[in-house]
Subunit: 270 residues, 2 copies
């Protein structure tokens, strides 16, 4: 087994997909430490040769791994050399897809993000909505929201809202359950009028305590006792209004976002 | 050639990667219309059978395409059936990776997003910074920014800032070049003190005009003349302060973000 390995991500576009693909694969080898570097926008043989020379110089003799999503055959071939372990994220799949669709692939770079500009406009609009409706602002406009995320402070509402807007074009508003709301045990009408789009976040009191300590160490706000109470009161509110809720503890932003879509039956059909 | 095809994305985790992978492939076939649906969190044989039954019922006889990133062999096999075109995004690559790393893959689901929690904390922090420094707010704290994005109204500053924070954990602030700044032809000291981290966005006046018309149709603000002048004045400022700038016209959020990183030499090494 190798203790460490150099990983290079080569793309004729942003490199975001080839990074995700490679990282999903190498994270399955927890005992090996990886050095990762990305070369985006490699669209010419010149750019490819320059990148390949750099890579070979850096990892001299250590057989670096190259993950590629290069479409152009000539550019691709420059990286497919015996000195490296070359992994093509596409070729094998694209060839098979051509035969099963009985059509020729365009093999043009950077297409993914251009599929349709309506989708892009929708994302931009969702991002602006999300920023304008973060942390309980402009609650009067909750009728326009696709999702309303409730939760106590530091439960992870904002990152998830932003992710839903940026990646999925979902107008996500988020509302903080303050000590006041919690003790009153009631929600504003702008939320109760939109319960079918409301989702609650909960968290383990211990993790919440740690999160809050980072910002306001030693405060009552951050104390474990306060966190325990708020988490419990929040769950009571979710139950009272029959709002589905999920725990953010130990989950990535992506996982919480995907779970919310699943929970609210927000289809990811396209 | 098929005119349309049903595409199903199956994942034992969020399904985000398998969607990206599949979409990068099918967008290479522009003449075929695709129906896409995602089945996330398929981790048991029961969930797999239920999903497979649904898929077969929906696409009866039309040989749907299934893209999968399922790690578990038993679960995976449930989808790999003669009635469908089964594409495994991983197997082929993972097997080869095992031999080239001389190690066994864990083949555990949902690992990608758990690689390290520091990275997650960094993203959360970046998101909060980004929201707190959108559209010229808290400019006094620009010393903490990783990137300061300048641009005229509607050039795409906010979506790109949010993307950089959410996906890359980059503390991105953005500053609007208002008619005032533009006519004064000077930038605030909080920006001039951080020029090495500043990047300008520009846009074609025509596109900017269209964007602004959507919000304030017929206004001076949205007029082509105003857009022409502002774009030109913005470029003068970029040149005056030697700020690198890129055009957002016709580019996706991802492309602009990746270009900004490249332009500012913000390494995507990990």
């Amino acid at each position: 087994m190798w203790n460490s390995k150099d990983i290079y991500y080569i793309s004729d576009s942003t490199g975001i997909l080839v990074e995700s693909l490679g990282q999903a694969l190498i994270c399955q080898f927890q005992e090996i430490s990886f050095y990762e570097e990305t070369y985006p926008f490699i669209q010419t043989t010149e750019a490819a040769r320059k990148a390949m020379d750099e890579i070979l110089a850096k990892s001299a003799g250590l057989r670096p791994v190259i993950f590629s999503t290069i479409m152009d055959e000539e550019v691709r071939r420059i990286f497919d050399r015996p000195e490296v372990e070359f992994f093509d994220g596409f070729a094998f799949l694209l060839d098979r897809l051509e035969s099963c669709l009985e059509a020729k692939a365009l093999r043009a770079p950077g297409f993914t993000h251009h599929q349709n500009s309506d989708k892009m406009d929708k994302r931009v609009e969702a991002i602006h909505y999300c920023l304008g409706h973060d942390d309980g602002t402009n609650i009067k406009e909750y009728d326009e929201a696709d999702i309303i995320i409730l939760g106590v402070s530091r439960a992870g509402k904002t990152p998830v809202s932003v992710y839903l807007a940026t990646q999925m074009g979902i107008k996500a508003a988020n509302f903080p359950l303050t000590a006041e709301d919690l003790s009153r045990d009631t929600l504003p009408e702008h939320i109760t009028n939109n319960l079918q789009r409301a989702i609650g976040l909960t968290s383990s009191p211990e993790v919440l305590h740690q999160m809050r300590e980072k910002r306001y160490a030693g405060s009552t706000y951050a104390s474990l006792a306060t966190c325990r109470q708020e988490v419990q009161q929040a769950q009571q509110i979710y139950l009272k209004y029959d709002i589905p809720y999920i725990s953010s503890t130990g989950k990535s932003i992506e996982e919480i976002a995907a779970q919310i879509c699943q929970e609210l039956g927000i289809s990811r059909k396209k």
